[in-house]
């Protein structure tokens, strides 16, 4: 009734079905395209945008320098924030209740208050505390600094942005660490690895898969947040410089566009970077050429039961 007569006919009658038509989708698409086209057209033709001025200042040397400063601030603040966030996330999991508590308060405070206010305070720190004195509290003074000499505008900007961001990232890292299977921790413990090593070598690298996308969001956000360093005041970043030009020429819109274009360019580069970082941390998980032998292999990474070598051993055997 049924048997092994398959494969005997030389030519296969492959199914080439006529796809379902989705006119609604294409109309929807067309409407969207139309809107985009209209928006683009009015963007180009509306004289308020003054594309000549945009062109003139896009590669202005001041603007180009300010991009450098903006990038420096972004990178420095994110590096500081990531370092602190890892520390905070580890502290949050510590056995020492004091560490856990400090970590919680830190996140609560820095997430809770506006970064602008924080930056104002970092700018005022030398006003509020003109000298930083190291010594025994209520006792002798060892040595002291003029705060102004240490906390320059650049340092204040980096520290202010970094500390604020660390609170947001700490939450992201916390969620990431939580997402790693507890079996990983146990397996590493059973091998005699110590907790700090386990965190660094086993848990964190796996958590990165979950951590990277929201951190990308935060980095792109930070790029724009740097414009708030005006509060310190730090006056070399992209927004400040384009604002200054706008003030001089009374042409704010084209200069906002100049800034927006540059932010967009940097964001695009960051998104490319994020793509590669995501891919790096996906190694062994996302970007492996799975052999989906099991229909449900994708279901459980822990039991990713592929048997890549079992098919093929019987190749060509005709029953």
């Amino acid at each position: 009734m049924h048997g092994a007569q398959a494969g005997t006919d030389g030519e296969l009658d492959l199914i080439k079905a006529i796809p379902v038509r989705h006119p609604g989708r294409w109309i929807g698409g067309a409407v969207i395209l139309l809107f985009v086209a209209l928006a683009a057209q009015s963007l180009v033709t509306n004289k308020n945008f003054r594309w000549d001025t945009v062109g003139k200042y896009l590669f202005d040397v001041l603007v180009l320098q300010s991009i450098g400063w903006t990038l420096l601030l972004t990178v420095a603040a994110m590096v500081l924030a990531i370092t602190l966030a890892i520390l905070l996330a580890f502290m949050r999991q510590s056995e020492n209740p004091l560490f856990r508590y400090v970590s919680w308060v830190w996140v609560w405070f820095f997430r809770g208050t506006p970064v602008y206010t924080q930056l104002v305070f970092w700018g005022l720190v030398s006003v509020l505390y003109p000298k930083i004195i190291f010594g025994v509290p209520f006792g002798p003074e060892w040595f002291s600094f003029n705060t102004q000499d240490i906390i320059t505008a650049l340092v204040a900007a980096m520290v202010g942005l970094g500390l604020n961001e660390s609170a947001y990232l700490a939450e992201i890292f916390r969620a990431g660490l939580k997402s790693v299977d507890s079996g990983q921790m146990e397996a590493a413990e059973a091998l005699g690895m110590r907790r700090s090593k386990i965190m660094w070598r086993i848990v964190l690298p796996q958590a990165m898969r979950v951590i990277v996308p929201p951190t990308g969001n935060e980095t792109i956000g930070m790029l724009k947040t740097t414009s708030l360093v005006l509060a310190i005041p730090f006056t070399l970043d992209l927004t400040f410089v384009t604002n200054t030009i706008a003030n001089r020429t009374y042409l704010p819109i084209p200069l906002l566009i100049v800034a927006a274009i540059w932010y967009l360019v940097i964001t695009s580069l960051l998104m490319v970077g994020q793509f590669y970082i995501e891919r790096y941390y996906g190694k062994g998980v996302d970007n492996v050429t799975h052999k989906p032998v099991k229909a449900t292999a994708a279901a459980a990474a822990a039991h990713a039961g592929g048997t890549p070598n079992s098919s093929g051993t019987v190749k060509g055997q005709q029953p």
Binding site: T296, K315, P319
Partner: protein, 267 residues
């Protein structure tokens, strides 16, 4: 266990098959995974498929349920062509709505249960009847309690999957599929993710289903189940049907070398 394969209803020569798989091929890229499968399952029959890993058993089940599209051949369930409409000699894809309609007639139980973890056992069972068949919640719940009773879990209705053992989860998965009152049930290694002690419960439920006359296609490694419950046994290898027939005969007397090899490993 009573041996039920002598049931004349199932063996009648003039019975129209419920499932008819005709020369089905499936490619994944260049990989020729199903190389012309023919298989018929009569109403009320339990058709057991065995075969080594990678031989295409899961793929075949998934093609029947439209989780994969076939590359060539035809699959009919209840005389309806699965996945396509034939008009003027040409095949047209079915719309997603029509595909959903066809799937309703076919219940599937997966190796890894795939219960909805955010819903209790009861909610898992009534999800499809209320959402797909638009039954009232009360009616669906009544039916769901019956089904949970049947799989021996009436006292676990309000547990979340994470609170159930593997065997209990798999039984809820069976009740969930049955709640749609399918004509055909597909089982893809329903016990292979279970510890040996938990296997029995699930096999018990499947046996009673078979006795109640449900048409079933079962991919399994449980040779005992195949022998006791199966009406036909099909051995697949390398995307082809190697041997097919009465389970006890094949298990006792495999004709092909591959079948012999395979059975010696599994038994």
């Amino acid at each position: 266990m009573t041996e039920t394969s002598a049931n004349p209803r199932k063996q009648g020569a003039d019975v129209k098959p419920l499932v008819s798989i005709e020369n089905v091929h499936k490619f994944f890229g260049d990989h020729h995974v199903l190389q012309g499968i023919d298989l018929q399952v009569n109403p009320g029959e339990v058709s057991v498929i065995i075969g080594p890993s990678g031989s295409g058993k899961s793929t075949l089940l998934r093609c029947i349920n439209l989780l994969e599209t076939i590359s060539a051949g035809r699959i009919y369930v209840h005389d309806a062509l699965i996945g396509y409409r034939e008009r003027n000699g040409r095949l047209h894809d079915l719309s997603s709505k029509q595909i959903a309609n066809q799937r309703r007639e076919i219940g599937m139980v997966f190796q890894r249960f795939n219960l909805f973890p955010h819903k209790t056992a009861l909610q898992n069972v009534i999800e499809a009847p209320t959402q797909v068949k638009h039954q009232s919640k009360t009616a669906a719940k009544l039916k769901a309690h019956e089904l949970l009773e049947m799989v021996g879990l009436s006292d676990r209705a309000n547990y979340y999957p994470a609170q159930l053992s593997g065997g209990q989860q798999q039984r809820v998965a069976i009740a969930r599929a049955l709640a749609m009152e399918p004509e055909l049930m597909l089982f893809d290694e329903p016990t292979s993710a279970l510890d040996p002690e938990l296997v029995g419960d699930v096999l018990e439920v499947m046996k009673s289903l078979a006795k109640s006359g449900m048409t079933m296609i079962v991919v399994t490694h449980e040779i005992g189940f195949a022998r006791e419950v199966g009406d036909t046994l099909t051995f697949m290898d390398d995307g082809m049907v190697v041997e097919s027939g009465n389970p006890r005969e094949i298990i006792a007397n495999p004709q092909h070398r591959r079948t012999q090899e395979f059975l010696s490993r599994v038994l």
